[in-house]
Structure formats: C-alpha cells, structure tokens
C-alpha cells in the first residue's frame, strides 16, 4: 500500500468537476426552497405585491400604466433572490463555519459562489414566470412575446448586480443583522430608485447611485416604455457596481474566511 503516497489521488475528470458545480447549485436551490424565511419573501412577495398594485388597484389605469407597474415589480422581483441569497446566507455561513468546512473539502474553486449565482438565476426565472403569467392573464399588460424576451434578457443581466449587492452585504454585515440590512437595502433601493412612483427633490439627485434605477431604465427601454439617460451608460454603471462590490467582498472574504 505504500504506492498510495506517490500516486495518492486519481485525477478528477472534467465531467465530475462540472457535476460538482451543478450538484452544489441544485442543493443550494433545494435548501432555500425548503427555508420559508427565504423562499416566501423571495417567491411570494413580488407576485402578491404585483397582484395588489397591478391587478386589484389598477383596474382602470390603462395599458401604459399597466405595463409600467408590471416592469417595476419585475425589476423588484428579479433582484430579490440574489440580494437575499447572498446577503443573508454568506453572512450566516461565514459565522457558522460552513465556509471553513467547505474550504477543507475539495469543493471546486468558485463553486460556493457559483451555486448561489445559479440559485439566484433559477429563483429569478420562477419569479419572472409568475409575474408574466399574472400580467398577461389579470394585469392587462400589452407586451408581446419579443418585448417579454427582451425584458427577460435585461433581467437576466440584472441578477448579477443583485448578487453583487447581496455578496457585499453578506461579506461585511454580522450574521445577526444581515437580514435587516438586506431588507432595508432591498426596499430602500426599490422605492428610492423610483421603481414604483416618480421621485423628486434631493432623492432624485441621488437616484443614480441605486443599481435598481439603472436596471429599471434598461427594463423600461426593453419593454418599449419611456426611459431616462443613455442605455450604454446604465449598463456600464451596473457593470461597474457589480465589479467593485464583488472585489470588495472578495477581499473581505479572503481575509476572514
């Protein structure tokens, strides 16, 4: 058995490495689906809010308003999984020693974060699918198939900054208050960026600091609604926010583990 030492470990085939990434994503999604504290606000709140504001209260608003409300809640809904998935879980897992355990295991590099990213995508797709169904059946939206696909494409880009904001919160906030930070950030960004009603005064001046503001402009443009500013600039700012927050989080995580 002394040959063990010289040839200790068989190589990991690429298929199994990819399999490990997918398995991590699967179990990350499964565990969050089974955690009501996470899955209820993420999956149920956007559709409930949209049904209330977009369907019940907006009986006579007309199609422009209907589309506007729909796009607003879509942006809100799609941001949730990334923000909460990273924001709360990274903070908690940092404290609980799960991260340390996973680092001791031969988990592929990046699988911890990629699993959460894929989970955020899967949940975002489900949220958007529910909103589209509600919008088309009850919300009187008049967006065609192409518009909806364009909106979906923009939303799929929006998952990245949402995850970056969440990762930033999760890396710096203590586990006990990460949920509060994530909630305040989530609601604050949604309202202060003018997702649901126009903003004025000082709040309007600082509006461009919110990633939701830029994502909302891109979403409106893709849905054929009036939007503000340059689309390229919105994209560049979202990309910059994503990169900067991710780097700051990575620095913190690398230091503390």
């Amino acid at each position: 058995m002394t040959a063990l030492a010289t040839n200790p470990v068989p190589p990991m085939p690429l298929g199994r490495v990819i399999g490990a990434y997918l398995s991590d994503a699967k179990y990350e999604s499964l565990r969050l689906l089974r955690t009501p504290a996470f899955s209820v606000p993420i999956l149920a709140m956007p559709i409930l809010f949209y049904t209330f504001f977009g369907v019940i209260l907006n009986g006579k608003g007309g199609e422009a308003v209907a589309n506007q409300i729909f796009v607003g809640w879509t942006v809100y809904g799609v941001m949730g999984p990334g923000l909460f998935g990273f924001g709360i879980l990274v903070a908690v897992e940092r404290n609980q020693g799960l991260l340390t355990f996973k680092r001791a295991l031969p988990m592929p590099t990046g699988s911890y974060l990629s699993a959460k990213l894929m989970m955020a995508y899967i949940f975002a797709i489900v949220v958007m699918a529910m909103l589209v169904t509600a919008g088309l059946t009850e919300g009187h939206i008049t967006l065609g198939g192409v518009r909806l696909l364009e909106l979906a494409a923009v939303m799929s880009l929006g998952v990245f900054p949402a995850c970056a904001v969440g990762l930033f919160i999760g890396s710096y906030a203590p586990a006990s208050s990460a949920a509060a930070f994530a909630n305040i950030t989530y609601l604050g960004m949604a309202f202060l960026s003018g997702l649901f009603f126009p903003i004025s005064g000082v709040l309007k001046t600082i509006q461009p600091i919110w990633p939701t503001y830029h994502l909302a402009q891109l979403a409106r443009a893709s849905a054929g609604l009036p939007s503000q500013g340059s689309l390229v600039q919105h994209m560049a700012i979202l990309a910059a926010i994503t990169v900067v927050l991710t780097l700051m989080a990575a620095r913190k995580l690398a230091r503390r583990g």
Binding site: A5, P10, S23, G97, L98, F101, A104, P106
Partner: protein, 307 residues
C-alpha cells in the same frame, strides 16, 4: 524507503502564532500510509491548528505543510482527504442523504450513496432533515460526509463527542475497517480510551510542540508510575503526605493514587486501614502517561487539563 517519501501528510518545523499566542512552535508531524495516528494534548496544545495547516485552511508562518507531497491548498491534494471537524454547521434544510451526495460530488471516485450510508451506520437518519437530528446523530452524519469520498487520509477531530455507546462502537468499527482497507487516519480526541482502542501511534502535543511520540504501549512505558485505587477511611491529605505518592485524588471513601512505588503505598494503606476494600493496582493508563508527559516537559501545564 525514506519516510519523507511515503508520508501522506507532513508538518515540518511548522510555526503559527495568533497575535501574542504561539499556537505551533516548530511542530514536526508526519502521517504514514495505513496508520491511525492519534494526536493528544490539552486544550490549546495546537492540535486543531496543526490540522488546519494540513488541510490548507491556514498557512504556517514558518516551516512547511505538505499533503500527498503537495501544498494542502492544492485542490488535487485535498481530493484525497476526508474531514470531520469539531464545529460545523451544515445546510440543515437538506436531508442527510442529500448532504452525502453533495459532498461525494467533490471527489473523483466516491463511494456509492448506499455504501456510505451502510458504512457510517446512518440508515435510520438518512432520509431525515439534518435540522431534526440530535447532536450525536449530527456527528454520525458528519462522519458519513468524511468517508463518502473514499479518502486516503481521514481527519477526525473529536469524532465521538456526544455519541451514545452503540454509535461510538459503530464508528470505531468503521474506522478500524477503513484502516484495514488502507486508509490512514489522524484522530484527535479527548477520550484517551479512544486512542487506546484505535491508535497505532500516538503523538502528544503541548504548547504547540510535540512532547512525545510512539505506540500506545510505548507511551505507557515512558512513565513507570502505577495507579492504586481503593476504598479507605484514610484521609486524602494523609495519603498525599506519603513520600511515594506523586498524586492522590478522590472523594470520601474512594481514592485514586498515582505512585512510582505501588508496593510501598499498598503496605502503608493496609497498615493504616485494616478495613480497606476494593484494592486495585494497575499500570498507568494513557491518560496518566499523558498527564505525566505534558506536566514534566511543560511545567506550567496543569495536570487536570489532561484528563
């Protein structure tokens, strides 16, 4: 072959300090193929830090850590390792069999799920969510995660804490079976009988250094002291005052005496107390040997810590 070539894991002059605290003070440690190495030592001896270096969780300030001849931070090196840590929280919404599958996916040639479940003896809890398990059951589940990757080297940090006797016996039997199959094991434990039951070799650590190394038998032989137990009416303070006695503990009636001259102590006891009962003389267990070692070489270490 030189042992340096065959060692599965090695620390060479490893130093690690946290602020003013020296956790490892030039530790040399090697894990040989097929052996069960038990690392003993009081709290703060540096056992967990030594394992953290071997797992690549931390880097030594000086010296070297090697796993299968590579850096422990090399993913390929860690693919040969299974780990059971002391403090770990797992995603508790997942069921035990799901946690096993998730962990097994990290390894090149893991055991089949059913095989892991049987080997770890977790048939009864495999379908249950981790959150619903008792402390001991959680340790059993963590043990399953440690062995599911068919590791060549298994790190078990205090594995049987909180287990009932049956579960402990099952785990010991599995560990013995894995060792017979060629797996090497590094076991840290506070349960001396665990090291006595399982270990091929024992390393005793204190204050970040290795203070002794050898087989369980050699460890015992290092100290010639014997232990005398009896039920007696002689006062503890009086026993402690006898020149042959190195330590005496106990409550009213039942006394435990550590001595280099058991015959002399027994003679004194019988002379002082004709009603003496339950006399028992035995060679010091590993527990006493260990207390002796850490106390002799490192005078500041209180002996009680070793128990």
């Amino acid at each position: 072959m030189d042992s340096a070539d065959t060692a599965l894991a090695r620390l060479i002059g490893a130093r690690k300090r946290y602020g003013d605290t020296v956790a490892l003070d030039g530790l040399d440690l090697e894990v040989r193929p097929g052996e069960l190495l038990s690392v003993l030592g009081p709290n703060g001896a540096g056992k967990t830090t030594a394992i953290a270096l071997l797992l690549g969780l931390q880097l030594p300030d000086a010296g070297e850590a090697k796993l299968f001849g590579r850096s422990p931070q090399d993913l390929n090196a860690r693919r040969g390792v299974g780990v059971m840590m002391q403090e770990v929280m797992l995603p508790d919404a997942l069921k035990v069999h799901e946690l096993v599958s998730m962990t097994a996916a990290y390894y090149p040639t893991p055991l089949a799920l059913a095989e892991t479940i049987t080997l770890a003896g977790i048939e009864k809890i495999a379908q249950r969510p981790y959150a619903k398990l008792s402390g001991g059951q959680k340790r059993q589940a963590q043990f399953a995660l440690a062995i599911c990757g068919r590791p060549r080297l298994l790190f078990l940090d205090e594995p049987t804490t909180g287990l009932d006797i049956n579960a402990r016996e099952t785990m010991w039997a599995t560990v013995r079976r894995l060792v017979r199959g060629g797996t090497s094991v590094v076991l840290t434990t506070h349960y001396i009988e665990e090291a006595e039951a399982l270990a091929d070799r024992v390393v005793v650590m204190a204050k970040g250094r290795r203070v002794a190394e050898g087989t369980v038998e050699e460890m015992r032989a290092i100290v010639v002291r014997k232990r005398v137990d009896c039920a007696t009416s002689v006062a503890l303070a009086a026993i402690e005052a006898w020149p042959e006695v190195s330590a005496a503990t106990g409550t009213a009636g039942a006394v435990s005496i550590t001595t280099t001259d058991a015959e002399a102590v027994v003679r004194r006891l019988l002379a002082a107390d004709p009603g003496l009962r339950d006399l028992e003389v035995r060679r010091a267990g590993l527990s006493e040997a260990f207390a002796e070692l850490t106390a002799d070489k490192i005078p500041e270490t209180p002996i009680e810590e070793a128990a």
